[in-house]
Symmetry: C2
Subunit: 198 residues, 2 copies
């Protein structure tokens, strides 16, 4: 099994973290987005959408989208419930992450940390702050009610949201006003098999 990814990407970190928790062996193939690796025709044949992470199975089949990869790899483990409603609740938070969280919090971090906050993207960076705080407020409310984002147990939904929330400060988000989120970040990182990003 090959994981094509970039160690600085939160979406790729999700897959690395899950593999560590479940003790899944894989070969890591480094892909550099900024230097155009994902626009390469050989990569495009594996993923027409040209994004990482990308999971490549031993038989050559490929799977894209970080959260789809998490669902595939976690099937049958304690990190993905078998109960129909609880599975759907995990997905609810993963779709929330991709639509209401990542486009603000991860993109603000990308603009600040990777691009160095260039003048022409400064307005966009500032515009991301409001949406990011809205997402954090939704998470805070849930984490006031349950120890993990989808309920009482650690699930792949926690991995999905941990990836960019724990580095939200790099996109200008101060988490000190979100006590339930900061307690949850510690809870996730306390897992005995936890690995850090980068």
């Amino acid at each position: 099994m090959i994981i094509h990814g970039d160690v600085q990407s939160g979406n790729c970190y999700k897959v690395r973290l899950l593999a560590a928790l479940l003790d899944i062996e894989y070969r890591w193939v480094a892909v550099d987005i900024l230097s155009g690796d994902t626009r390469d025709p050989a990569f495009r044949r594996k993923n027409a959408n040209g994004k990482i992470p990308l999971l490549e199975l031993d038989d050559g089949r490929c799977l894209a989208e970080s959260n789809a990869i998490l669902n595939y790899l976690a099937e049958g483990s304690a990190l993905l419930p078998s109960d129909r409603f609880r599975r759907a609740r995990v997905l609810q938070w993963q779709f929330f992450e991709q639509y209401s969280h990542e486009p603000y919090i991860a993109v603000a971090r990308f603009i600040a940390r990777y691009l160095g906050l260039p003048e022409e993207r400064r307005d966009e960076y500032h515009a991301k702050q409001r949406g990011g705080h809205r997402a954090l407020a939704v998470m805070e409310e849930q984490l006031q009610a349950s120890p993990f984002i989808a309920g009482d147990e650690y699930s792949i939904a926690d991995i999905s949201l941990y990836a960019y929330t724990h580095v939200a400060d790099e996109g200008g988000f101060d988490l000190s006003g979100y006590p339930a989120i900061t307690a949850w970040l510690d809870r996730v990182a306390a897992h005995p098999r936890h690995v850090s990003m980068g």
Copy 2:
């Protein structure tokens, strides 16, 4: 079972279409986004993220995010494969829809059709065109290779992508350059239990 939604919303239409295909009974509760229904405290108690569609079960449990709802309702049906890889492939296309398709094609339609293309959002509308066509090109490539988006069979991934693709022209997207997509739109609409939007 209650579905809270807006008949003009593609995300809500996904749930209505699936319910029709699987002959699922439900009560429809109309929610008007533009007049602020989703900001109402009673609605926020059901979905802290304040979005529709929202599925409310008879026992009061609520589930948000259109694609999570589709997964919940389609479990055990022919529209959601039981094979682990094929399920993940369905999810791959649903996450693609929410991240790489909906933010361009649905948002362009919203700006043009609901807001009447106001001057202050004209630049944003034009900026959406490029991302929308990029998503359509990825779909076209897949639909040149398989009759449905996740393979040989109609699945909930087709519902997810049909919802806004079949009204993409309302956001300024001309589909005449995408013959595999237009053939697929006809294939989806030919299902004997198909219902139209609105």
